[in-house]
Every structure is written in structure tokens, then in C-alpha cells.
Amino acid sequence: MPLAQTINFGTISYHPDAAICFPKGLPAFEERRNFVVLQFQDSAPLTFIQSLETPDLCFVAMPVLAIEPQYRLEVSREDLEELGLASDRQPRMGVEVLCLTIVSLGESGPTANLLAPVVVNIRNRKAVQAVAGESGYSHQHALFAQEVVAC
């Protein structure tokens, strides 16, 4: 199994099938192409998108459907072609593509970027971050909106 150096997890070994390639990088990280998708038993369903080129670049993510079970995928024709998928329909989540949402920490807690899910073609492991401009989803979807602060 190949090994990768990471700042967060030390040296990890990963299954080659877990390596994914963003042919165009991600917005703001256009030069970073090769990542590995990691899930650890003690932190599932959190998923880590770890750069294979930059040990300290790691996105924390979650399966989109774990956050929004009714999520409507909206991948542009151009992105579908980039992924090597049929461009006349949306791919099936969990069957043809893996859909992850990147988590970040806002001032009022963790948020998930549902506006731009990471979409991975399961067959060829090509990935894009698909910006769904007309979907109406937020780039800062509160993960724990229902949480009540005790007073």
C-alpha cells in the first residue's frame, strides 16, 4: 500500500483506490491535483481529503447525503465531461459518484459547503468541486442549526 506524509495524521498508508485526481484542482488550490480520501473508524462520518503533494493541506469533509438526505446534485455539463460521465443527465450519488461537502469553522460553529460539493467519479477516481450556481444551496450551511443554547 502506498504511503503518504501528512501533518495531521503522521505517515498513513492508503488503498490506491482511495487516491483521487482533480484535473483542474479546487478553487483557490488550482495547482493541487492529487488527494486521498480517508475515513477513520474513530472519526466517521468525517472524511478527510488529504493532499498527496502538500502534507499540511487537508480538507475536512462529510458525505453530502449525511447532511442533506434530499440533496439535489447539479453538476455542469463541463464538469460532467471533465469527470468522464454522461453529460446529458445528473449522475447517481453513491452509485456513480461520491459526493462530499467540505466543512469549515465559522464564528458560530461548523458549516458545510453545499454550494460546491466535491464530486468523484467512482469508476475513474477523477474529481471536481462542482460549483452549483443555481442550486440555491449555501456555501455556509450550518451543521447544527437545530442546536439550542442552554441559558
Binding site: 495531521n8 498513513i12 483557490a28 475515513q39 468525517l46 488529504q50 475536512v60 456555501h139
Partner: protein, 88 residues
């Protein structure tokens, strides 16, 4: 904000170097052509949002912050195919 009405095919000029062409007007969207100097980034607004969000997301470290997120997650999301193993 300056508002202008334009028909399909008409052009707006910004300064000497930027040209905006209303290429096509559909029912719910317009197609806009933009000619600008190469060094001037042209982005859809949502791409800028995603860039900023990615930069913020890349700052999360796997330490206390992730642990605190985990504690809050009460999800029965099924795990999927790929896993990693920490080497000692």
C-alpha cells in the same frame, strides 16, 4: 450601482480595456461575453465564495477542532468504501 438596459448583441464598455457583450437573452438567464486583459481575473460570484470558503476550510487542523465537530455529530451516515490506516 449604475443600471443599464441592453438588448441582445449590445455592448458595454468599462474603461478602455473591458468589453461586455450581451450575447444571448434566454427565459431565465443571459449569456454574457467578457473581453478583459488576461491579468484581470473574471469570476462568477459563487466561485469567489467557494475560493474563500476553501481557504478557510484548509485552516482547520485535525486537533481539537475536529474533535469538537465530532462530538456534535450525531449522524448515522453509512461509511463508504475507502479507508486509511495510521502507521505508527
Amino acid at each position: 450601482m449604475l443600471m443599464m438596459s441592453r438588448r441582445e448583441g449590445e455592448v458595454i464598455l468599462i474603461g478602455e480595456q473591458i468589453e461586455i457583450v450581451i450575447a444571448h437573452i434566454g427565459r431565465s438567464r443571459v449569456k454574457v461575453g467578457i473581453r478583459a486583459p488576461r491579468e484581470m481575473p473574471v469570476l462568477a460570484h459563487e466561485v469567489k465564495l467557494v475560493k474563500d470558503e476553501n481557504l478557510a476550510a484548509a485552516k482547520i487542523s485535525a486537533g481539537a477542532e475536529i474533535t469538537s465537530i465530532l462530538k456534535k455529530i450525531n449522524s448515522n451516515a453509512s461509511s463508504f468504501c475507502v479507508t486509511g490506516r495510521k502507521e505508527n
